[in-house]
């Protein structure tokens, strides 16, 4: 018989498959620790969180909607959904990416500091991106922009040479198109 070749008693890692990005809508009881359960699951099992948005959406029933953008191989994505689903305070897990036909939006506030031409250019670009000015001083603006993440990325990139100071983003919220709810 052949002698063993590795020095671990665990199987070697399987060949890496291609990772996909999925947006999950997770309906949970808004109780203490529920977010920790979700985040702990991701960190404990080595899953990725690209974006996370949480807020109570149905006050009477104390239900919160968590929107998570995660990446992984199809098998890992399936695992993530099943693992989430078996947490006791979780009511539903919907894969918005698989379900298709959903809208994803993000809000960002972008602070830009500058004078003269840069300031004018920032305002013009903001207008083109339909970003609103929500704070202004003689040497700065704060823009509010909503849209898909790549639109925000693009806007932020354009602001960089014009005196970008900082960005605050909400993370992605997602909802299904059409009359049906979760």
């Amino acid at each position: 018989m052949n002698a063993p070749t590795t020095t671990s008693h665990y199987p070697t890692a399987p060949m890496a498959q291609k990772a996909e990005s999925h947006t999950l809508s997770v309906l949970v009881d808004n109780e203490p620790g529920v977010l920790a359960r979700v985040i702990g699951l991701f960190s404990g099992r080595g899953y990725n969180i690209e974006s996370l948005t949480v807020s109570e959406t149905e006050h009477q029933k104390h239900l919160s909607l968590i929107t998570i953008v995660t990446t992984g191989t199809p098998m890992v994505i399936e695992q993530i959904k099943n693992q989430l689903d078996r947490l006791v305070p979780i009511h539903r897990v919907v894969d918005m990416t698989l379900a298709g036909n959903s809208i994803e939006r993000e809000l960002a506030m972008v602070k830009v500091r500058g004078k003269g031409d840069n300031r004018v250019e920032a305002l013009r670009l903001a207008d083109a991106f339909r970003a609103r000015v929500i704070d202004a001083t003689t040497e700065s603006f704060v823009f509010e922009i909503t849209g898909k993440s790549d639109k925000i990325e693009q806007f932020v990139e354009l602001m960089l040479p014009l005196g970008l100071v900082e960005v605050a983003r909400t993370g992605i919220a997602a909802i299904k198109r059409g009359p049906e709810g979760l």
Binding site: S8, P11, G33, Q83
Partner: protein
């Protein structure tokens, strides 16, 4: 019925209402009100352990051998952190437990108070669910909910952390009622279309194989009975994981022995070569599959599991069936019968011929000795001398555990308590305490190693205190045997720190702890010594001195497939065991 009482009284009342008879625990400042409530009643009997880890393992043994929920009570801080190993163990092996932990008063939480720990934070990843009870009004619901969650679906441990002021507070207690939780609804019945597809696959199989696990045991006696019926009906071969031993009788010719890293050659080869695999309540763990990409490459896989997250976790399956084993097996048996299915006789006969050739290689063979006790021989004798009795076996973790799994024939479910998923050394002794309490008239044996047993040795005092005549059968090879084996095979024989230095004299130790010590060093004395152990109606520490160099074979080396097993040198060589025609198939 509702009644006003303190939070502490509610804890004990809820246990009584849930049918709890024994509670394993250790007192401390933050649970004293509950200990007061225990003092004032006699429905729930408290068993005082010597360490909180022991309390959890004892409750696990109790739960595993009875199918009931095991109960634990520990104090805040160190009490809770000491329980963590047991909780993790129970989570990995799907054992239903309710563990009550004391907590500092609510106004001190977060204050780094004396014996404070973030118990819900620490136990969140090692429980099925946990609670911090901040208001006594919530306590009755949480207590009953905890029992429901622990026992239903895929069972697991549930922690309820109760601050001391909540234990003192008065509130209205209510009896268990309908479970209102909307987010938690385990699926019991399997999808009929999937079950039909599975049965059709089975009916056309040429080289089928049952692969069963702990889920069958957890599903209850009915699941084991139905499994036996289905296996008999179909005539298919069957293997099981470590956790599933006993669901199908080891004495039956269709039984191929345990599979996996230290499973039999025939079980692993049949898994590798089968064309239809029926996985019932097992989870394709890495000890089972070996190299994933070479795992049973040619088979269609049917997977029955109550936990959807077990499906497609490690291995992609073709027919997933989410549901309780007993329910799904019942549907399968009925469908098989009503459709008048018959296994393909010719194909089955060829398949069994092949399996018999693998069997003929006697992969569990070892070189017997008249000089030293071979550990395998010790287990064989233990089995022969106890098989006609009402016997329960627990184990620690390591070589002795694998030998017990290989050589002790389990013919009934719930008779075998071992730490499978977590691999917790020190599990077996306290687990045997729990088993013996649940089955006071039965013979309960902890098959142990001299290294493992020292991890929870102090629980022998618990056994003595409650007159539990457990038998601790130590295969003493002077090494952490499994570590030594891996060091021999994989690390050039550099036995770094794996020698059991400064061992106690187990016979004297037993004596000092008011138990009975027996030592046996010669194969010729073994039967007599084992009989003596069985006949003593007191806890026994049996020091069985065995061959220190023996390795546990067969084994699938890491990174290898099921058909690349390593046999011990006593195994029958390939050429001697099989014909030319058979070689083609190996």
């Amino acid at each position: 019925m509702t009644k006003e009482m303190t939070g502490a009284e509610m804890v004990i009342q809820a246990m009584a209402d849930q049918g709890v008879q024994h509670l394993f625990g250790y007192p401390g400042g933050a649970v004293l009100p509950i200990y007061d409530a225990i003092f004032a009643q006699d429905k729930v009997k408290h068993i005082l352990v010597r360490h909180e880890q022991g309390a959890v393992h004892a409750a696990e043994g109790y739960a595993r051998s009875t199918g009931k929920v095991g109960c634990v009570l520990v104090t805040s801080g160190p009490g809770a952190t000491n329980a963590v190993t047991g909780l993790t163990d129970a989570l990995m092996d799907s054992i239903p437990l309710v563990c009550i932990t004391g907590q500092v008063p609510t106004h001190l939480i977060g204050n780094d108070a004396f014996q404070e720990a973030d118990t819900v934070g620490i136990t969140r990843p090692c429980t099925k669910h946990n609670y911090l009870v901040k208001r006594v009004e919530d306590l009755p619901r949480i207590l009953h909910e905890a029992f429901h969650i622990a026992a239903s679906g895929r069972p697991g441990p549930v922690v309820i952390d109760i601050p001391k002021d909540v234990q003192f507070a008065k509130g209205v207690y209510s009896k268990p009622k309908e479970f209102p939780h909307t987010g938690y609804k385990p699926r019991i019945k399997g999808d009929m279309a999937a079950i039909k597809e599975a049965v059709a696959l089975m009916a056309h199989a040429k080289r089928p194989m049952f692969y069963t696990g702990g889920g069958v045991i957890n599903s209850g006696k009915a699941a084991s009975d139905l499994l036996r019926e289905l296996v008999k009906l179909t005539g298919f071969p069957i293997t099981s994981t470590l956790m599933g031993l006993g669901a199908y009788p080891a004495a039956d010719p269709q039984w191929l022995g345990m599979l996996g890293m230290h499973g039999t050659l025939e079980a692993n080869m049949a898994m590798h070569d089968c064309d239809v695999m029926i996985c019932v309540g097992a989870r394709f763990d890495d000890r089972i599959t070996g190299r994933i990409d070479a795992f049973s490459p040619g088979s269609k896989k049917i997977h029955i599991d109550i936990d959807p997250s077990s499906i497609n976790k490690n291995v992609r399956v073709d027919v997933p069936i989410i549901g309780d084993c007993a329910h799904v097996l019942e549907d399968m048996v009925r469908l098989w019968r009503t459709n008048g299915h018959q296994a393909d006789k010719k194909a089955m006969s060829m398949w069994w011929t092949q399996i018999d050739k693998w069997r003929a290689r006697k992969s569990l063979a070892y070189r017997p000795s008249n000089e030293v006790i071979k550990p395998q021989y010790a287990i064989q004798r233990l089995f022969e001398l106890t098989k006609d009795r009402d016997t329960y076996i627990t184990t620690e973790v390591g070589q002795h555990q694998m030998w017990a799994a290989q050589f002790y024939g389990f013919n009934e479910p719930n008779r075998w308590m071992t730490s499978g998923g977590l691999g917790t050394m020190g599990y077996g002794l306290p687990a045997s305490v729990g088993v013996q309490l649940a089955h006071p008239k039965s013979l309960v044996i902890d098959i142990a190693g001299e290294a493992s047993v020292q991890m929870t040795m102090q629980e022998l005092s618990t056994a003595v205190q409650y007159r539990l005549p457990i038998k601790i059968f130590i295969l003493n090879n002077g090494y952490m045997g499994m570590v030594r084996q891996w060091q021999e095979l994989l690390h050039g024989g550099r036995y770094s720190e794996s020698y059991s230095e400064a061992l106690p004299d187990f016979v004297k130790l037993a004596d000092a702890m008011h138990a009975v010590g027996i030592r046996c060093q010669k194969p010729g004395d073994l039967d007599h010594a084992i009989k003596e152990m069985i006949d003593v109606d007191r806890p026994v520490l049996f020091d069985c001195v065995v061959d220190p160099a023996e390795n546990c074979f067969p084994m699938i080396p890491s990174g290898r497939a099921h058909n690349e097993m390593l046999l011990g040198d006593a195994g029958i060589a390939l050429e001697d065991a099989i014909t030319e025609e058979g070689k083609m198939l190996v």
